[in-house]
Symmetry: C2
Subunit: 107 residues, 2 copies
């Protein structure tokens, strides 16, 4: 019944790891794990829905297509409004970076 | 734009502290902080919607009306289905316990 967000990490993964923890018609709750990974170069997330993210562990830089950069540390959270183009520009390489992402679908 | 889930805690609060971080028609994302608090005796949460909770810091015991007890530690998460009656029976007293709660409204 209980699971833990820090558990069940693979030894190796070639790119950011996306795992759905819960999904229904309203939301998708996702764990995203990076180990020095970034979004592939010149690739932007351009979503039809709002996404709320919380950085649980590690450190990352979120980049937006208007040039804004946000350094995210443990406990930081931010709302990524629909169609606000963003990418993970950098994550710390000496530990895992773990995000909780809540995708707010239109229903 | 960025906020931090560990910040802006009051020096004192007489009971569990509930703060809405984000609300829309699909969900309410909430921070719940306890400092040794519990749900008032004999009071049960009996909700019309599912709630997903993640323990970010501290330690707590969730109790259910069928006698089940769940000890929750940092990083633990669990789904509380609608009408599964529950209460916070105990939280650790020597540090804050911080929960992230995602209430999944029917829309």
């Amino acid at each position: 019944m209980i699971e833990n967000i820090f558990n069940n990490l693979p030894d190796n993964f070639p790119e950011e790891l996306f795992q759905t923890l819960l999904v229904n018609k309203q939301v998708k709750i996702e764990r995203i794990v990076s180990r020095g990974h970034a979004t592939p170069a010149n690739e932007w997330y351009d979503q039809d829905w709002d996404e709320w993210v919380l950085l649980i562990k590690g450190e990352a830089v979120l980049a937006f297509d208007d040039g804004v950069r946000l350094t995210m540390r443990c406990g930081d959270y931010v709302l990524l409004p629909a169609h606000r183009k963003h990418r993970v520009e950098w994550t710390v390489s000496d530990q895992d970076t773990i995000w909780l992402a809540v995708h707010l679908h239109a229903g």
